[in-house]
Each structure stands twice: as C-alpha cells, then as structure tokens.
Amino acid sequence: MNEDKTTGLETGRWEREAARLPRDIKPQRDLWPDIAARIDSRQPISAGRRWRVGGALAAAVALVALSSVTTLWMSQRGTEAEFSQVVPSPDSNRSDIQTADVQAAFGPDHELGPRYRLARNALTTDLDARLQALPPGTRKVVEQNLQQIRGAVTEINQALADDPGNALLQQLLMATYQDELAVLTEMNRIARSLPTRTEI
C-alpha cells in the first residue's frame, strides 16, 4: 500500500484501478475517410506513393539495388581480375521484354492472368541467367530484394487461403505481384547496363 505521508491517503489504489481501464476505445465515427482524404490531398512524398500507382515498391527496391550495383561496380571497376570473372556481353540485338503494360489480374481461385504469367516467367528466366553474371555481392542484394517480395506474396497467399474473400488481402497480393514484375524488369535493365569485360 502506498500512503502519502502528508495526507495519509492511500495513493496506490487509483493507480491500480487505472490499469484496469480500457486501453482501446473506438472513436464514435470512422475517421479513416478524413485521414485518407488528407493523405490524398497532400500528395505523397515521392511520386507513385500509393499502391495503385504500380511499381512503388519496385522503385524503392530498385533504387536500393541500383545503388548497390553502382557502388559495387564502381568499387570493383579497377579490379579487373575480380570483375572479369563473369559479366557476359549484353545482347544488344535483343529487344527488351515489354512489361510496363502488363497488369496483374486474377482469374478464378486467384490464378494470375496468362499475360502476366508469361511476362513474369520470361523476366525470371532472363534475370536468373543474368544474376549469374553479377558480382556475388550485387547478386546477393538483388536476390534478397526479390526474396522479400516473394516472402510477402507467400504470406499474403497463406492468409488468402484462409480468407479467400478478403478484399484487402486481394489488393495487397495484386499490388505485390505488380511490384515483383516491376522489380524484375528493373533488375534486368540494370543487369544489361553493366559493362562487359571488353568494355573495362
């Protein structure tokens, strides 16, 4: 028991009672629409902040990866012995895989649309080949970024399996697939832009 020496009052009781008060009180009205409106009107910090503008995650991840690739490339440029072990010549005649207009879309049971799957498979195959040509450190960064996105896809899919009708989960999954595609595209672009052995 805590007693105040000056007043003789037992002061701990109300503290204990306060600990039992509800810590969770719902507002009497839904404040989200106002918050969302203010967020929308303020505009995001960077372009494409909202998920609806596809590729936001890709931009962030690609920036990290691009930065890492550039840093690694610059730091290794003078070390031909190390750098020359891989990096094949980019196929200058090869046209880029056009993915910008491919939108993730669900079919029955959340199967992805055929165009999306084709683009994704092509990019993945292409990137897998190019990853082998990257320095180990760069490859690790790219793989970690993709792993993070794919981990998110797995997690959301697991949640969707338990709750297939959840609109939020569906939106999250769609956006994440779109991000994955954008990251694959960006990674391919970066990988192709790396110098070849003969250019060093």
Binding site: T11, R13, E17, A19, P22, I35, R42, W51, G165, A167
Partner: protein
C-alpha cells in the same frame, strides 16, 4: 510494449481471424500502399484514440489529434526504421500531437464527453467492474493538471514505463515520477474524500 504480430483484417471486409503480419503491412505502407496503411489504422485506432481522448480531455480534440497523428505517420513512414514497435512509434507521434495542441490551445476538458465515449456500448472489457467507479476515475483523471494527467495516462493507464513515458513527453524521468506521485495524490484527494 509489444504489439500484435498478426493483423486480423476484421476492420475492412471480413470477420476472419487470420491475416497478414503487421511487419508486412508496415513494409507495404512504407512504400506507399494506402490499403496496408488503412489496415494499420484499423489495428491501432482504438488505442491511439483512447490515448488522445484521455490526454486531450475532449472528443473533438482527440479526433483532431488522431487524424493528424495518422497523417504525420504516413508522411514519416519512409523514416520508420523499425527500431521500436510500429505501435510504439505511432504512440509517440500521437503524444506529440496532443502536446502540441496543449501548448497551442490550453485545455478545457469536457468530462461528460469523455465519460460518454468510455461507456459506449460494446467497449467494456470482459469482466469489467463497476462502471460508476470507472466513470468517477475517468472524470478525476480528466480533471488533473496537464503534466500530471499526461504521465498518469501513459504510465498508469497505458502501461508505459517511466523511461518510455518520459521520452514520449520530452521530460526527465525524475519529472515523470514526480508528476505521477502528484497525480496519485490528487486522485486520492478527489476520489477518497
């Protein structure tokens, strides 16, 4: 303070208990996913509102503070590094909003509004005790001076340690303890006599 690791999506469209992790939602929201941010809002709105309501002493002010806190959180999300739990980070932003409001406007708590919100149907904890006692206590808390009330709400009601409360309020730990002692004494004087 640990926050839930898994976020049920009950606030949006579903009553399902399963959901995605808060960490995933934070990652998504950090890169601009407004849907993920709404899910985070649904998850934390009750706690943030309770904090703002008790600290600000008015429903309108609590709503203003809460809205501003979430807008600020959205803007600052790219800087959130995950060194603390997302909920704790959000609490800090909300506390800052209330403190800013208190400095700007002073305070004129509307006890009835607070009590009205606190006894709203369905908000009681399971097994809660006498509602009259809770109402008296809420009114007494609302009547405390700002400094004592802020510390008491964070420490005694919401369970933050002296160090955490002091950090959130931008005061020394000793000040925090002194304010808590003051709050205890004032509450005892008002409720026991």
């Amino acid at each position: 303070m640990q926050m839930a690791a898994v976020v049920p999506m009950t606030g949006i469209d579903s009553d399902a208990d399963e959901g995605v992790s808060e960490a995933l939602l934070v990652r998504r929201a950090r890169v601009g996913d407004l849907v993920a941010f709404e899910a985070l809002y649904r998850l934390h709105q009750g706690r943030i509102y309770a904090l703002c309501l008790r600290m600000s002493g008015s429903r309108d002010r609590a709503e203003d503070c809460m809205q501003e806190a979430f807008v600020q959180a959205w803007r600052r999300l790219p800087d959130f590094e995950g060194r603390s739990a997302f909920g704790t980070w959000l609490y800090r932003i909300a506390v800052n909003q209330v403190l800013t409001l208190q400095r700007k406007e002073g305070r004129s708590p509307d006890f009835l509004e607070i009590v009205d919100d606190l006894v709203a149907p369905g908000e009681d904890r399971p097994g809660s005790r006498d509602a009259g006692l809770a109402m008296d206590l809420e009114q007494a808390i609302a009547s405390l001076p700002d400094g004592a009330r802020n510390v008491f709400v964070l420490n005694a009601v919401h369970g933050y340690s002296h160090i955490e409360a002091a950090e959130m309020l931008g005061v020394a730990v000793g000040t925090c303890k002194a304010q808590l002692h003051r709050a205890r004494r004032l509450l005892a004087e008002r409720l026991d006599r």
